[in-house]
């Protein structure tokens, strides 16, 4: 069979050359993207945000019927659960009433002491409940994309709470949507301390269900079951928010079981406490 030629060029070979060049160019583009992500260049974030913005409305439309089906099953199991819980709640209510009286007294005492110390309380926190529309996890990353709607008061870095505690932080806001980096993600590092003994460390995600407690003092003594709360160091998270419990201690490795339910949530609470991390605030001109 005669080979097709255009001037001196074999068309078949030319097509193969073009195909290989395109594949190579796209590989290079992928590596460029990786390099941009590594250097935290805004261009990489912009590309990611643009694609997310295009796809999230589609996801919102698809996930609605999915949750209707699951909702029906959940309603049935909820009825049974509610009956049992009601019985238990009546008993707990009586206990709470007793505690409430005690708390009122303590609150009044606290107010009085603050007045004496000339203490300035932080600005009121802004709360937003956001629906989860994308949940991803596995061996390489753990994040959520949530729908904020028209809530523009929330800022990047805000605390994200599940039902029982902190589950992550707001990494970026893109219009009505925001990306949440979960505590289990490899990029997550938050300062924590033990609730009782106030021993500090950094809770570092590693893409497993149990993040590790790092940078602890060599003199610190931890025990399995110790409750961890945010320490408030670095000024992003306020102190005292429940994070988890020490699940296992093995030589220098401390594994933490998280209290915030991030496996099956539908909504999360995003709280902007108005704390500003000095490291995240851009310097004004002439600051140097």
């Amino acid at each position: 069979m005669k080979r097709r030629r255009l001037l001196f060029i074999n068309i078949g070979q030319f097509q193969i050359f073009v195909r290989k060049s395109v594949v190579t160019a796209l590989f290079i583009l992928a590596v460029v993207f990786l390099a941009l992500s590594r250097s935290e260049a805004p261009a990489a974030q912009k590309v990611r945000d643009s694609v997310t913005m295009l796809l999230t409305p589609v996801l919102r439309a698809i996930e609605y019927p999915t949750h209707l089906i699951y909702g029906g099953y959940e309603n049935l199991t909820d009825w049974i659960r509610v009956y049992r819980q009601n019985k238990q709640l009546k008993e707990e209510h009586a206990d709470f009433l007793r505690l409430k009286t005690k708390l009122n007294a303590l609150e009044n005492e606290n107010k009085m002491l603050r007045k004496m110390l000339n203490y300035t309380p932080p600005a009121d926190a802004v709360f937003v409940t956001a629906k989860i529309i994308v949940q991803e996890g596995g061996g390489f990353s753990h994040s959520l994309i949530v729908y904020l709607g028209n809530n523009t008061n929330i800022e990047t870095g805000s605390v994200v709470l599940g039902e029982d505690g902190v589950i992550g932080r707001l990494e970026s806001i893109n219009g009505a949507y925001a990306r949440v980096i979960l505590l289990t993600d490899i990029n997550s590092k938050i300062p924590v301390m033990t609730e009782k003994t106030r021993q500090r460390g950094i809770l570092s995600g590693d893409n497993t269900e149990k993040p590790k407690l790092l940078f602890t003092s060599s003199e610190a003594h931890f025990e399995t079951g110790d409750t961890l709360v945010t320490s408030g160091v670095a000024g992003v998270f306020p102190s005292g928010l429940p994070v988890g419990r020490i699940a296992r201690i093995q030589k220098d490795l401390i594994e933490v079981g998280l209290t915030g339910n991030f496996e099956e949530p539908e909504y999360v609470k995003i709280v902007d406490y108005g704390f500003k991390n000095p490291l995240l605030i851009p310097k004004a001109q002439g600051d140097d």
């Binding site: 993207f33 590309v47 994308v134 061996g139 390489f140």
Partner: protein, 176 residues
Amino acid sequence: MDESFSEILENQLKKIIPFSSTLILLILVYIPLPLPSFVFFKPDIGLIGVFFWALYRQDLFNVFSVFLLGLVSDSMSAVPLGLNIFVYLLVFVLCSVFGRYTNMKPFIVNWVGFGIVALTAVGIEWLLMSFYHDRLLAFGNIFIGYASTVLLYPVFARLYMYLQNRFLADEGALYE
């Protein structure tokens, strides 16, 4: 004879079936479901789609489709931008080079072929991420993800085969 507008539209829509079916499944897998630990077992739908269509219909599933699927996968997750693009392109190239060893062979050969390609892809992904974070990543959850992807391959491959045989089978059906 001239084709009517509806015929032209139908033919064009058929041509995007490989890309659109993979994209839809890729998006669906990100929907949060109230199933405990489901996130750890999520299969890599993109990898399955890229392998299957690159193997059987490279005429309808070109390198740009692979790039776009990688871009979507990267954007929906928190992995560094470019990671899934790189891995999917690699799978596409592997299928182009070694596809003849599994193409038109019994399904089990195709499945084993996928297992090997997916293992290579996951290994490369693990290496890239370890370089990216300057530390070796825990392999446990990565292996769970790999295992679920390989185990669920026949389910998704069956779906793609149906689409291929129902809408795109101009040169004989696959595995029938």
